[in-house]
């Protein structure tokens, strides 16, 4: 399968700094997104450290499969999923350590949602309230559970999904990277099919733009980069109360036609990096 990706981040219309961070590592088909929190500029430090740690750990493991695994990932998962979970555990340690060593960073933390694709196997590792979605057959499905207080209340039947959307407690997380020495990391493995579309995003998108609007935009815009830009524009049009980050990944059937050898460089895609602050 051919994998095309695009991503973008924006400070939004209300905040003065962007604490989100994302990266597309296309040689590995690894996609990482993080939303930082903490006073001053510490949210930016936390999210950048989270993304950097995950990417570095996965790249190292790509060339050396026997690199140490962190956080005892459960047996029964693929090596790829275990590696991705290990990377998230390591990111948690690095942020926590940094906050311990620098008292001014106390209380900083970050969400992290990462996708790693090899062949038709998708691995997901996730902590916090950023989201991964799958658009398949016109249906948008969330592949991650939000680790937020309101989502937990919905799961326990205390409030309804529509009450959760109105709640003033939406920013309260139950889990994040860097706030405790160890963290529980969610994992998920899925089979992918041609024409599947994956979306990674921070809550700055999902709080402003409804699921049908997201699905409609993804279906209307074939180019992943343009789709990501349009989703960010939509979130800003409706208020842009938080930083917005979006990664769009499109899976296409690899051409096996008679003339496919004539098409040059069909599989090569330059990596694209994005960081908070836009350098």
């Amino acid at each position: 399968m051919r994998i095309l990706g695009g991503g973008a981040t924006d400070v939004g219309r209300v905040r003065s700094n962007n604490e989100d961070c994302f990266r597309l590592v296309q040689p590995l088909n690894l996609f990482v997104l993080s939303d930082g929190m903490g006073g001053e500029a510490h949210g930016e430090i936390a999210s950048a450290l989270a993304v950097e740690t995950v990417v570095k750990h996965c790249m190292e493991a790509d060339s050396n499969a026997s690199a140490p695994l962190y956080g005892n990932p459960p047996a029964g998962l693929s090596a790829q999923t275990k590696r991705l979970m290990s990377a998230v555990h390591l990111a948690n340690r690095n942020i926590y350590k940094s906050a311990q060593e620098h008292p001014e960073q106390a209380g900083m933390g970050a969400t992290l949602t990462a996708l790693w694709i090899s062949g038709d196997a998708l691995s997901i590792a996730h902590v916090g309230d950023s989201r991964a979605y799958l658009l398949r057959n016109g249906t948008l499905q969330q592949l991650t559970n939000d680790h937020s207080l309101v989502a937990e209340q919905v799961r326990r039947g205390i409030i309804s999904a529509s009450e959760a959307e109105q709640s003033e407690m939406q920013s309260v997380l139950l889990r994040a990277l860097g706030t405790q020495a160890e963290v529980e990391v969610d994992s998920e493995e899925q089979a992918l099919f041609a024409r599947d579309l994956l979306l990674l995003c921070s809550d700055g998108l999902t709080r402003m733009v409804t699921d049908p609007e997201i699905a409609g935009t993804l279906q209307a815009e074939m180019d992943p980069q343009k789709a990501a830009d349009r989703l960010i524009a939509l979130a800003n049009e409706t208020g842009g109360i938080d930083n917005i980050s979006v990664i769009v990944i499109r899976l296409e059937n690899e051409s096996k036609g008679w003339f496919s050898w004539l098409r040059p460089g069909g599989r090569k895609h330059a990596g694209k990096n994005g960081t908070a602050g836009g350098h």
């Binding site: 939303d35 929190m37 933390g109 038709d120 196997a121 799958l134 398949r136 057959n137 249906t139 499905q141 969330q142 592949l143 991650t144 559970n145 939000d146 207080l149 989502a151 937990e152 209340q153 919905v154 799961r155 326990r156 039947g157 205390i158 409030i159 309804s160 999904a161 009450e163 959760a164 709640s167 003033e168 407690m169 939406q170 920013s171 309260v172 997380l173 139950l174 889990r175 994040a176 706030t179 405790q180 998920e188 493995e189 899925q190 089979a191 099919f193």
Partner: protein, 241 residues
């Protein structure tokens, strides 16, 4: 207000409105809805709102509680459903809105939080139990663990029983499908079941599944005991305790 009507031999014997307290059903006279029949246990079942959902729960009765003729431990009720206990049946009228008396209190108690924050384990437990106390009726339910399960009734699949552990469960011939269909002419991905915060939803893939005999147009929420038919396979969706 939604209500329960106790029926016996075609006649309404008693009606009780469903408020914010659970309605208990049983042979003992201290029940909200006493049913005088030897086949009914002293405290047989109860009906209550869990969020916006109306739920019936069997209280380990001897002869069981049935919803639309299917034996249940716990099930979501819909308008027009009938609950059978002993020789009686209870008609569910949920055509009116669920009562929301605790709503005001909950909103007043919740301070607005703009900055993202993380609760530590202790604060989290306190907040959740506080929230649970406001919706008092949910305490009973939260103690039980429900395991969503697919039981294959007929058709060719790799296994006969699947526990749904993933956010997304695919049904199809693909080697990576959870519920793997075997045999000729089966689609790679026939249908899929996704777990959302408020329940499990089945959606179409290459085929349009039918739920309880009705083909679905888009994702449909699955209830305990629903019958799913897709690509020549018949399955039961149930919650195991």
């Amino acid at each position: 207000m939604p209500k329960l009507s106790l029926m016996f031999e075609g006649k309404t014997v008693k009606e009780v409105p469903i408020g914010n307290r659970p309605i208990t059903i049983g042979r003992s006279p201290d029940n909200d809805l006493p049913v005088d029949n030897l086949a009914v246990s002293n405290h047989h079942a109860r009906v209550y709102y869990e969020g916006a959902r109306l739920v019936v729960e069997d209280l380990d009765s001897l002869n069981g509680t049935f919803v639309n003729d299917l034996r249940i431990e716990r099930a979501t009720l819909h308008d027009g459903d009938s609950i059978h206990v002993g020789k009686h049946y209870i008609k569910v009228d949920a055509s009116h809105d669920a009562p929301m008396p605790y709503d005001m209190g909950r909103k007043a108690a919740a301070p607005a939080i703009n900055e993202t924050m993380v609760l530590d384990t202790k604060a989290r437990r306190e907040m959740l139990s506080q929230a649970a106390a406001m919706g008092e009726r949910t305490q009973f339910a939260s103690g039980r663990i429900k395991v969503p399960t697919i039981l294959v009734l007929s058709g060719k699949t790799a296994n006969k029983e699947y526990i749904l552990t993933n956010k997304l469960t695919t049904i199809g011939k693909s080697a990576m499908a959870t519920v793997r269909l075997t045999g000729w002419f089966k689609p790679e991905m026939a249908a899929q079941i996704s777990q959302r915060d408020d329940g499990y939803y089945i959606g179409p893939g290459a085929k349009t599944p039918a739920v309880n005999g009705t083909p679905i147009a888009g994702p449909v929420r699955l209830n305990d005991g629903d019958l799913i038919e897709v690509s020549g396979v018949r399955m039961n969706f149930i919650f195991r305790e």
